[in-house]
Amino acid sequence: MKRCLLVLSTVLAASGALAADQPSVQVEPTTLQGPRPLAKQTESAVIRDYLQAWQGLAAAMDQNRPDLLDQDFVGEAREKLAATIAVQTKSGVHVHYQDRTHDIKIVFYSPEGLSIQLVDNIQYDQQVLDQGKVVAEQPVHARYVAVLTPTEVQWKVRILQSEPL
């Protein structure tokens, strides 16, 4: 049975986002590979931080500000997203992402507890702008694989990659 999480509502309500912009979020029952049990608190924290990372990604891509990635991304994911922003800035492009729905399932919790992997069946709107002019707007349905690792106070996205549905 699917469970609806209100985590994002809390996150976005705190940030003053409009209710209309809040994505709907579903969390599938966890079927982990790996010997390490996943505590409920950990699961909630990971999902909260993953959804927050999408907000950070959208803001960074929309404003072409790589510094906005720092709160939610580390390692390879941060480097790739920052490189994208660098190209966007150079070419006068920016891309607006608005996530609409997430269907998340945690699939792997590494034995030493240093990484959690999830898959997200996501729908978002992608708007491509050149010199501030909209050149295209597309609804996207994709499947993302994300790996998060713990930092001092939160989980951060280390790998974010989509694959064919």
Binding site: F108, V135, A136, Q138, V147, Q161, P164
Partner: protein
């Protein structure tokens, strides 16, 4: 030219431009492998701009309609879902496609834990891997990963696990003999190795003897070994306790060359015990001789 004629001409021109742009159909492959070359055929004529945009990479190219757009090898290398837009004038054509990871592994992220553990522990060692291609894309298609734990004194343990969404893990037993073990993960000709230090386990059969030396008792343990015969590490603290006439004397000494020894007052009828960590040894009641 009259105002009406000017408006009519403008409308015709806009319609013509739109028709020209809409002729530029966009036929992008549904999926391409990261870093490989591909081309996008175009129709029509005139200049246009191609955008390929996803969170992991963005490309922008000025292109000539009517000629194929060449995406060279190495241009688009980050795996992911992309929106392609061919924009000409006020119109644009779009398509969506996927860039897939290269299936040949090029690097492994290998987390092995712990770095130090006692010998003879079932599934005490764990290793988790993520497998990447040469562009640091996570290879999400199944990849067999071979885990090997090798020590000098025992046969190599081998396990093969197929990745699921790019990740695989295994558990291994620590060897019965102390020493460093090489823990290696291999996938597609790429390997990563970690060193695991296997140390003796808890002492097994802690035993002491007492010998009179003047007005003192010299307490000395037998050489301390764990349950698989490894000498317990020097420096391990051994606690000798003497209880006599309601009082208690405790002496903590580090293990040195496999044995621990201490001197306590020789009281007739004293009760002597020895322990290290959570392991209790034998007890002696001192009656003038052992």
């Amino acid at each position: 030219m009259s105002r009406t004629a000017l408006i009519f001409a403008t409308i015709l021109l806009a319609a013509a431009l739109r028709a020209s742009a809409q002729d530029a159909t966009l036929d992008v492959p549904k999926s391409v492998v990261a870093g490989t070359a591909f081309s996008i055929p175009t129709e029509g004529s005139g200049q246009a701009t191609l955008y390929i945009a996803g969170p992991d990479q963005v490309l922008k190219r000025d292109v000539q309609l009517g000629q194929p757009i060449a995406i060279a090898a190495g241009d688009l290398y980050n795996a992911g879902h992309y929106v392609a837009v061919l924009s000409s004038g006020s119109a644009s054509n779009t398509a969506q496609f996927d860039v897939l990871p290269v299936t040949q592994p090029a690097s492994i992220s290998f987390l092995a834990r712990p770095s130090r553990l006692p010998v003879d522990l079932q599934n005490g060692i764990t290793g988790a891997v993520y497998v990447f291609d040469s562009y640091s894309n996570l290879i999400t298609s199944p990849v067999p990963v071979n885990f090997q734990l090798s020590v000098a004194s025992a046969p190599t343990q081998t396990r093969t696990v197929t990745t699921n969404q790019g990740a695989a893990w295994t558990g291994m037993n620590s060897a019965s003999k102390e020493g460093n073990a090489k823990f290696t993960a291999m996938a597609g000709g790429v390997s990563a190795t970690r060193v695991i230090n296997q140390v003796p386990g808890e002492p097994c059969g802690l035993k002491m003897s007492a010998h009179k030396a003047g007005d003192k008792l010299n307490l000395i343990t037998d050489p301390l070994k764990d349950c698989t015969g490894n000498a317990v590490s020097d420096g391990t603290i051994v606690t000798f306790t003497e209880t006599w006439d309601g009082g208690q004397t405790t002496v903590d000494v580090p293990l040195k060359r496999d044995v621990a020894q201490a001197e306590v007052p020789a009281h007739m009828g004293a009760h002597l015990s020895v322990a290290t960590g959570t392991v209790m040894g034998n007890e002696i009641r001192w009656e003038g001789q052992e």
